[in-house]
């Protein structure tokens, strides 16, 4: 029987990352009381952002030791707060941070781990999770049988929570004893993607390109993305070929997205790509191959040479939105 949820917030650039709001949505849907744990360097200041979401309290572990996202540094404090507060469900968003640290926390708590879930139902105090398997081609229902549970939630499927008013009390918690494993990991550097565009997980519109764009990936897509305020994504083939950086990859093993509007441009639609964008509200596909599998999931398909169609689309959109 689950009774109390600990939502683990993720920090980025001295602020709570928006992806955290999906984990809050999970807590609300589970219908159980919850607290939010903000941990990181500068967590105290950042915590103010999440006091208005109806949490019983916001717990802060603010320490320079947690400046960089190193799982061995975060897991001990998350587990310690869960234990001392009697939380029996710990939830993270399934970002690269959540996926990295979630299982370590589960092992520390001897907890079962339900990864990357896309739904939760409260069944008389028991939580039943739904999660996509086989590249999203089937949904599994599952339960965790351990007294403590750890869950990671798919950001694209748990709509970001809005503040509900009120002001949760903020309390400090101490950094947990350091994990010996942490002494054997040294943070060397972060090569942050330099982009003016919105994050793939948060964008309302995504413009994704495939290998067909070749070296003109940015030249063709940037004007369209810029006009729409869109994030840019890519197929695995485009990333592997070096036309787009790896962090733009949308798919089963890259980012999973569900924007209002998704453009698949020169993307054939491999199963692995579809797994990452099938949840989008409206899908547009532009491809010169009329038999490309992408057309099977597209709401609007245009069979055309993208090098002509995309510039024309930019012109027409400018007219239509003028």
């Amino acid at each position: 029987m689950a009774s109390k949820i600990l939502v683990v917030a993720e920090m980025h650039a001295d602020a709570v990352r928006k992806s955290t709001h999906s984990a809050i949505t999970f807590a609300r849907q589970a219908g159980l009381p919850f607290a939010i744990l903000v941990l990181g360097k500068g967590a105290k200041a950042a915590a103010a952002e999440v006091t208005g979401f109806g949490a019983q309290k916001v717990i802060v572990v603010d320490d320079a030791y947690l400046e960089h996202q190193v799982a061995e540094r975060f897991a001990p404090s998350i587990a310690a707060v869960a234990k001392s507060g009697g939380f029996d469900v710990v939830v993270v968003t399934a970002s690269s941070f959540g996926k990295d640290v979630g299982p370590r926390v589960a092992a520390k708590l001897e907890a079962g781990y339900a990864p990357d879930i896309n739904g939760v139902k409260a069944d008389g105090g028991k939580l039943v999770y739904r999660r996509p398997v086989f590249a999203g081609n089937a949904y599994a229902s599952c339960e965790l049988t351990s007294p403590v549970q750890v869950v990671s939630v798919r950001q694209s499927e748990f709509t970001a929570a809005e503040p509900s008013g009120g002001s949760s009390p903020v309390e400090d918690a101490a950094l947990a004893a350091k994990d010996p494993a942490a002494d054997r990991v040294e943070f060397v550097s972060l090569e942050a993607a330099k982009s003016e565009r919105p994050d793939l997980g948060e964008a309302r519109v995504i413009v994704s390109g495939g290998r067909a764009l070749k070296e003109k990936f940015a030249e063709v897509l940037d004007p369209l993305a810029g006009l729409l305020g869109a994030a840019v994504g890519a197929s695995r083939a485009a990333c592997d070929a070096g036309y787009a950086p790896a962090e733009l990859q949308v798919g089963q093993t890259g980012r999973v997205v569900a924007p209002q509007l998704y453009f698949a441009i020169g993307i054939s639609g491999a199963i692995q790509h579809l797994a990452g964008m099938k949840g989008s509200k409206t899908i547009v596909a532009i491809n010169k191959d009329p038999d490309a599998p992408i057309f099977q999931v597209a709401d609007y398909g245009l069979v055309a040479d993208l090098f002509n169609a995309v510039p024309e689309l930019v012109t027409e959109l400018k007219k239509a939105t003028a």
Partner: protein, 274 residues
Amino acid sequence: MKILVPLKRVADPDNANKVKVNAGKLETTGLEWKPNPFDEYAVETALRLTENGTNPKARQGEVVVVTFGPKEAETTLRGALATGADRAIRIDVTDDQLDGDLVARALSALVEKEKPDLVLCGKQAVDGDSNQVGQLLAEYLGWPQATFAGSIKSEDDKSLVVGREVDGGTINLRVTLPAVVSVDLRIVAPKSVKSKHTPDTHNYPDGVRFAALMAIMAAKKKPLVEMKLADLTSDAALKIKYTGFELPPARKAGIKVKSVPELVEKLKSEAKVL
């Protein structure tokens, strides 16, 4: 360097859209067993770390592969042996007796016996898509981890510099061995793995290596031992219980538009997304 690589066979991921659900049960009948692609990348990475790329036949270290599965799963192990792994272990068990946690606990016991310097695994198996065993294993062992590795540089036998593919770019970590590293797609690019044995100028072909017929024959003679799950852990309890499966909701059929202006018109007045 001694490297342990856990392998899993999965129902053909390129035909994952053919999985069926019958009375709440998942069926993969008709789908061929294939090695989990990320595990193949882990084997390739292990081989690159233990050889001079200009002379890949001489192994400078040891690569041990392990799988959890029935007798037929040995095909996956033999495949890895044929590409260059030295020996193999099969834990005799079926998928329904396992979850990621039990696999990690059993692997941690195996690691205590085998004492590898490094466990290299795929970041996720593409059937369950869980992405958990490497991290669980690292925690159970008290070892450091570097997940989603897109590059690995082995400077000496004591540490690795790993470029992790994360949401906002790349995080570079230096992990002191022994450690667990889980690999991502880009790890098999021509220059992703730098070992101290291989000259910097060497370029690997993109992707994983294929075994020659001779190597496939020779692999049949390489050591493959069977173990029982009970040899590794007395606690075979599962922490996750799958209670049913369903197919995802189908998307409604879309339409083909004839021109860019028609597309814009539809997006504006029909989909109302502009």
